[in-house]
Amino acid sequence: MPSLKEFRNRIASVKSTQKITKAMQMVAAAKLKRAQTAAAAAGPYAERMATVIANLTNNVRGDSAPLLLRGTGKDEVRLLVVATSERGLCGGFNTQIVRLVREHIAQLQAAGKTVKILCVGRKGRDQLKRLHGDKIIDFVDLSGYKTLDASAAALIGDKVRALFDQGSFDVCTLFYSKFRSVISQTPTAQQLIPATPPDGARAPDLKGAIYSYEPSEAAILEGLLPRYVDGQIFRALLENAAGEQGARMSAMDNATRNAGDMIKKLSLRYNRQRQANITKELIEIISGAEAL
């Protein structure tokens, strides 16, 4: 049985841990709010972009379509862009994404495809390095960005497009976590290249008029597609940021609660021990008095 002093020390240390996790939970809650606002603010752009792309891709088809839309016509080399967080202590958030990536890699390898990985975020790279370190071709560190902006997405987009132009992959898939709610984020795989026009986006009703394009339809599409890809990456990053904070919030909430339970149990044992000691001392005194 540990001594009373040891109990007191244990309780003090669990209490300070609880204070830390509580603070982290509150910080995550505040950051989550900001991340959600940012994600909501980016909504209109993505929506409009989807409409424009749907409208354009209806008209430009076949061989005249830009390579980003058409693809290379092969499906041999796959590039997986894995977006995870930069910091840990957010529950199963990164593990979930990495697990999905691993499943995909196993499937692709079984089908005889070559897999390459581009990591975004430190945590995903650390987890993938163990088994698939040889496949990681590049790594993007986002810890320098205080707030995520479109330039972060453009940085990743440029890298992906440069690789595509070199012909080093055929199909690119982006992995990230969709933000559903604070307690639930779904890891998602989304094809980036060849670009897929969004589902559900309708071309606008022109009321019989004919669209005119300046300079030309193909030229506009050529310029628009990279931005569409960037937009998708940006959206994924924002969802990831919100998901990370949500996951951290619930993880830290759990930790705080666990610490509370532990303190309760420890104080019970501490009090019991203290009373046992008092009883023991009393018995010693009484039996000593009786002996006289």
Partner: protein, 132 residues
């Protein structure tokens, strides 16, 4: 009252402007063009420059750094890569930023840094030109 044009200006980060206006002048890549209500469907790319919103006799200028304009019967949508409201800017501060940026270009240690600084400089110069 004349018809109003529904105009929205969005950048990847947020929606900068949404509402009904009289007239919008957009810096298109093939030349500046004005859009009034009931314009024919039209799509074009944009070059960096000032976008002017004319409404009820007032004028608001927003700097857009490239992007796309899409005119449909529903209205005009500008998808800007980057947009700054010129009213929020202070000429003196901008000049200071410009000066710093020029120094950055000179001080750049490697190619990547230099490219980055030059891109920033081009953007600031375009904004400065739009202010005059």
């Amino acid at each position: 009252m004349a018809d109003k044009l529904h105009f929205s200006l969005v950048s990847p980060e947020r929606e900068l402007y949404a509402g009904d206006v009289d007239h919008v002048v957009v810096p298109g890549s093939e030349g500046e063009f004005g859009v009034l209500a009931n314009h024919a469907p039209f799509m074009t790319t944009i070059r960096p420059g000032p976008l002017r919103i004319l409404n009820d006799g007032g004028e608001r200028r927003i700097f857009v750094n490239g992007g796309f304009a899409d005119v449909t019967p529903a209205g005009l949508t500008v998808l800007a890569e980057d947009a700054v409201d010129l009213e929020d800017l202070d000429a003196a501060k901008l000049d200071q930023d410009l000066k710093n940026c020029r120094e950055d270009v000179g001080d750049a240690k490697d190619e990547a840094q230099k490219r980055d600084a030059e891109a920033r400089l081009r953007r600031l110069e375009a904004i400065r030109a739009a202010m005059r």
